[in-house]
Symmetry: none
Subunit: 218 residues, 4 copies
DNA sequence: GATGAATGAGCATTCATTCAT
DNA sequence: CATGAATGAATGCTCATTCAT
């Protein structure tokens, strides 16, 4: 994982960090192959040759950047225990964080996807990223099912993939493709759809659906 | 849209078609920039120079291919009036066709997305493609709302974007990223989630949820 | 000299002529290598392949065009016997025609020069063109010398080259490089300079210099 | 004017100079478009890619070379104050230098002319070059006119263009087209023609015409 | 004769990577 | 460590020329 120069002087560490930052900026703006190493070096205020002191190739840099970003997305999207309230509120909080995590790195994940089509190692990283979110979603659903609060017939993993995909995809449409919407409304709707889809049973602490006029007349 | 040689002899038309086909194959396998014009020519059994008789550049070919694919996706995803049954069955049919349309062209649409980040004209095509699906979804929902069969408080467009995105994204995860699932189960689940999310009221012709154990105990 | 298809039908002759005309127009506007055969064919309203029915190459066409132009310059610059008056008037008439001949074909002769640097045969044609003018000038001067009207010590050929060059070069500067001047004034001055340079003795029929204030005071 | 890498290491400066020299040699032998960048690189003993470290294109190199040559022609053709003697001797000296300046760079100036037909910036450079010579000639003539030594009725600029053109054109015919002549004789004749053409009055220090048998018998 | 599709050699240009200083 | 000059493989594109219809 750690490429080149395991031990670095302070100066070396600074230069390396500058390159990673510069790479992150560059990759956020241009597709992978449009980014030239020269661009990155210029951004980092470093000469062309120096790049190779720290990385073997553009891919190596991207791998590093992607790793950093994926790590950030992991930590950024953890719904802390601080979130009080019932399951609905927890879903809402998760969706908000999920949306924000993608907002910050949408372009880069797209690039990761693209890179994955060519390079196995990126495919692995991408899978890792997805798995974390999928597992969290699946576990959350299973817990609700166990508590009798959600439809027990739903396959937890597949459902998590689908509903998680809904959020992820909306983030993309919203942020990359410029669909107009404001965050609060988006999170509201995503949460409502998600909760209904899994058949979330109303509890005393989840007011949103109370006056739901849609409730089957029966 | 059609560039160069509007009028062609039969032979010319054949060659052009061969190039478009070859391009489509190539683009389905490799990212846009990994495809060399020589590859396409080799696939089409045509010399390098011939390519330029019909297209100005690789981008021009891709534009053509993308146009064809988008056209196919439009027609392939129309739920004919032949589909009998209630709204649930119609949603199910739409989801099945939607999934299949993406199954056939998933990679290419990803490329279209990538190309769109660089080239305005591709962004336009992509928007067009999305709009058709979004509008269909939104209109379908509005009709159900008018009939009192779906939650009238949902914003039709935003909801269509989110639920449509769920299907589209699942197609991607399923086909491109190799998530294991079989079509029937996937369509079933997608439809169930979709129907629940919009608060589709059960009618006599929609049996699936009849024995739904999730129904709130109240 | 005659290339390809010595015997042509009427239709063939027409097509060939169209190509030559089109070539002439094209060569008058663009440098030799900037002219593509396609351009010429388009101008002639003829398909690409047809060109090769009549010419072996672009150079062959240019050779033909150059030959036509050189021929025209020969005939156009002959000072007919109709020009009455003394030697001064004849020089003036010659200069006027010379200037006009170059005016009509200046660009093409420049191209001929350029082509001559690469292709021997063009060098020959160019030499031929020059020789005609040089010889005429030299003979004219020798006649004047024989009549005791011009400095007999001047080398006729070299003088003709130099003074002829003066006219030719001025035509270039005037027409190609856009130096502002009107024809009458230019011809006047060129003739005055030429006549003085060869020491043309005033005769009763050459009034222009009569009041020449420059005449050495002695 | 100076493109790319304004500041260079000694090594870089050496390489750049090698390319300019190589370009100059190449352009002296072949027409602009016949010169391939590979040729220049081979001549300079440099790899293909290195060329682009210093120049953006063949045209950029030519621009540089042309600039150098034009500069040389300027300085090389200045008649220093060291030339003693009367006006005739000064004209003679100027003609000699003029002829030599063109002798050294005749081909390249031809190319500059050709390039000027296509590229505005070259047209500008060419105009600059010409103007310097024209202005010098015109000023020289005006001075003589003021001193009562030359025909005051002659338009200085137009006359300078014509007589300067005579010298320039002769240089071309002599050196590029291979007209046989030796320098001394050519300079002699050019000077004689020039002096006579402007009606240069003999002074005690200008012997050449003293025994001029052409002097009008009157 | 005319057509225009097909060919492929030729050339410019880019850019990741190496390496001497 | 940093520098930036040098390298050359890779590839897109042009256009004169050929040839089957």
């Amino acid at each position: 994982m750690i490429v080149k120069s395991e031990v670095l002087t302070a100066r070396g560490r600074r230069t390396r960090a500058a390159l990673v930052d510069a790479g992150r900026e560059a990759f956020a703006v241009q597709p992978l192959d449009a980014v030239r190493i020269d661009d990155v070096c210029a951004r980092a205020g470093v000469s062309h040759g120096t790049f190779y002191t720290y990385f073997d190739s553009k891919e190596a840099l991207f791998r590093e950047v992607a790793g950093v970003v994926v790590g950030e997305m992991f930590t950024a999207s953890v719904v802390g225990p601080a979130v009080s309230g019932g399951p609905y509120e927890r879903i809402e909080a998760a969706n908000r964080l999920y949306l924000r995590a993608w907002a910050a790195n949408s372009r880069l994940v797209r690039m990761l996807e693209q890179a994955a089509t060519t390079d196995e190692s990126f495919a692995g990283l991408l899978l890792e990223l997805r798995e974390v979110f999928v597992r969290r979603g699946a576990e959350g659903l299973r817990r609700l099912q166990d508590q009798g609060l959600a439809d027990p017939t739903l396959d937890p993993r597949l459902t998590a993939i689908m509903l998680g995909g809904m959020v992820e995809h909306f983030a993309h449409v919203w942020l990359d493709l410029g669909e107009h919407a404001d965050e609060a409304a988006a999170v509201d709707l995503l949460t409502k759809l998600w909760a209904r889809a899994i058949g979330l049973t109303r509890t005393s602490t989840s007011p949103p659906d109370d006056t739901d006029p849609l409730e089957p007349p029966r």
